[in-house]
């Protein structure tokens, strides 16, 4: 087991090394001089020379690459051109709304998907099953930003049930901030519940025909016990995988949703950085977000070991 965990950590380091290489390549794909691109058309040649010197763009590419990798390894993701502050500290400042939005949405998605997925499998072929599946497919086809805009207008502006945008302003209490995240989380959660619902249903269908479920029934256990305790417990492994996948989708969804609801999170930051051509900021955000994703997948693998005693490496 220790050997497996060690191998997995080693694999994670490899993946992150390739992520860094890809990020380095992506940022240098831009045609033309990166310094001029970052500064925009109004910059003087002197400013471009200074930035080139500052960012090390005038050195050989291999030296730039080695320098980039060694700096990232030391936790230095560079300095944002627009904010004139270290990338990592800006990301840390903007992390809270994004993390909370992702977690709240995941919670909402799971609480919608699990009961409907289980019921759908149990009542397979009935109207309930058909309508759950159709709704799941429909929900997965609607752009989240569109749903966000419509709900923002009707539930926020017209009915006044939720704050329309923002994060409660400076000095807002945690409760107030969380209240501002309710509608965006609802939008993102509902949209992303479709995948989990379909997986829950499919895994439950597999499990419900297993011998041990039949045995449990023949022993006279209540249906509730059979479905929730005997069957559902055994769908946790595929569910852990799909929740990991949903996590990645939520990060993507959060980028757009944050923009709709004007939330000062990492999504808004990255879109703003793209529009301002703040490459160090884009680079740093890509590295941190992919790092989080790789780490979450690692944790899910570790959860397998914990929830299923049959899994031994």
């Amino acid at each position: 087991m220790k050997k497996y965990i060690f191998k997995r950590i080693l694999g994670m380091i490899w993946v992150m090394f390739i992520v860094l290489t890809l990020v380095f390549i992506i940022v240098r794909l831009a045609p033309g001089d990166p310094a001029t691109l970052m500064l925009g058309p109004d910059a003087t040649p002197q400013e471009a020379i200074e930035l080139r010197e500052d960012m090390g763009f005038n050195r050989p590419i291999i030296i730039q690459y080695a320098d980039f990798i060694s700096k990232v390894a030391q936790g230095d993701l560079g300095k944002s051109i627009f904010f004139n502050q270290p990338v990592l500290s800006i990301l840390a400042e903007r992390a809270e709304p994004s993390i909370l939005l992702t977690l709240f949405s995941l919670g909402i998605a799971i609480s919608i998907a699990l009961p409907f997925g289980i019921a759908s499998a149990y009542y397979r072929g009935t109207l309930l099953d058909q309508s759950s599946l159709t709704s799941a497919m429909l929900i997965a086809s609607i752009p989240s930003f569109w749903t966000g805009l419509i709900l923002q207008q009707y539930l926020g502006t017209e009915l006044g049930w939720f704050p329309v945008s923002g994060y409660g302003g400076p000095g807002a209490s945690f409760g107030e901030r969380a209240y501002h995240l309710l509608l965006p989380s609802l939008v993102l959660g509902v949209v992303n519940s479709a995948l989990i619902l379909r997986f829950t249903r499919a895994s439950m269908l597999d499990v419900l025909t297993e011998d041990y479920v039949r045995t449990a029934r023949s022993k006279g256990l209540s249906e509730m016990n059979v479905v929730l305790r005997q069957a559902f417990k055994n769908t946790l492994i595929p569910l852990a995988t799909v929740i990991g996948l949903t996590f990645a989708l939520l990060i993507s969804g959060a980028v757009v949703t944050e923009r709709v609801f004007n939330l000062p999170g990492i999504g808004s930051l990255v879109v703003g950085s793209v529009l301002r051509r703040d490459y160090p900021m884009i680079q740093g955000t890509l590295i941190v977000v992919s790092g989080v994703y790789v780490l979450v997948n690692f944790l899910i693998d570790m959860i397998y070991l914990w929830i299923d005693p049959r899994v031994k490496y």
Binding site: M16, I26, P143, F145, W146, S252, V271, L275, I282, S290
Partner: protein, 286 residues
């Protein structure tokens, strides 16, 4: 003989697809959207960018079927022209990402030595959240339809690569591949004629879903203002423009939203139907 059995197989596939009413519905919707997009200049004689300030923010009616926007542009015309962009992006991304994914997956699944490095690259590419990677790529490449297609193809290629690799690993060990090798058939022929031909089903299904996802992603990118050039009408930019007028001209965002949803939904239904038709084992469970 081979052709006859292939024809019978194709006929059966169509029969299964058409028999499912939902699939038929999806295919009809897709066909209608496709026809509108392809024949847009013949269906509407109006220029999608022609401004008529006097007719701004008019609700749907007999003159303007789906109303007008803040500059008096006809929403119906813009919608069908925007469909052209969305469908081009969808088809382009599905074809290019599948081609890249097939090459990566076949190489990684067939050549053991190349498996580890290619798989690590695939893992790393999948560690980037879709939209973040697409945004960053469009940022460096520049906002145009072709660059959005390139960016989204890079984003979705690893998904195809994973599926192709997994199927190649299984097929590589089958007796007919071994027999072909024993007969001295060259590696490219084995790869493309013996392996690729037999794993086309999952690739086609995945390509259909990529078609759908890339349309959603393109709309997202355009909505964020980092996609296609804003002067080109797309469903995403139409929603983005309509945002400010949602309380006075809700049709400005409802129409493009419904168009995206219908298109993506039909593709998902078609993809599901295709998967069921191509894999009877899964069909039984659904």
């Amino acid at each position: 003989m081979n052709d006859i059995s292939e024809n019978i197989h194709q006929a059966k596939l169509w029969k299964v697809l058409i028999q499912r009413r939902s699939v038929l519905f999806g295919l009809i919707i897709l066909f209608v959207i496709g026809v509108f997009a392809i024949f847009a200049p013949w269906i509407s004689s109006v220029d999608p960018n022609s401004i008529a300030v006097r007719s701004r923010l008019l609700p749907p009616g007999t003159e303007y079927w789906l109303g007008t926007d803040e500059l008096g542009r006809d929403i119906f015309t813009r919608l069908i022209y925007a469909g052209r962009v969305s469908l081009t992006v969808g088809v382009g991304v599905a074809i290019i990402s599948s081609s890249i994914g097939i090459v990566m997956g076949l190489t990684s699944g067939f050549f053991k030595r190349l498996d580890a490095p290619i798989s690590r690259i695939t893992d790393a590419m999948m560690a980037f959240p879709d939209i973040l990677l697409a945004i960053s790529l469009v940022a460096v490449l520049g906002g145009s339809v072709s660059n959005v297609v390139i960016a989204l193809s890079i984003v979705y290629a690893p998904r195809v690569a994973r599926i192709v690799r997994a199927s190649t690993l299984v097929i590589r060990e089958l007796p007919y591949v071994e027999a072909a090798r024993a007969l001295g058939v060259g590696t490219p022929t084995i790869l493309f004629s013996h392996i690729l031909r037999n794993i086309m089903s999952p690739i086609i299904v995945q390509a259909t879903f990529i078609f759908a996802y890339s349309m959603l992603s393109e709309a997202g990118l355009s909505f964020l203002g980092v996609g296609v050039d804003p002067s080109t009408p797309t469903w995403g930019t139409m929603i983005s423009n309509g945002r400010q007028y949602i309380d006075v001209a809700s049709w400005m965002i409802i129409c493009p939203g419904v168009a995206i949803t219908m298109c993506v939904l039909s593709l998902q239904i078609a993809g599901d139907g295709l998967r069921d038709a191509l894999d009877p084992k899964i069909a039984k469970d659904l």
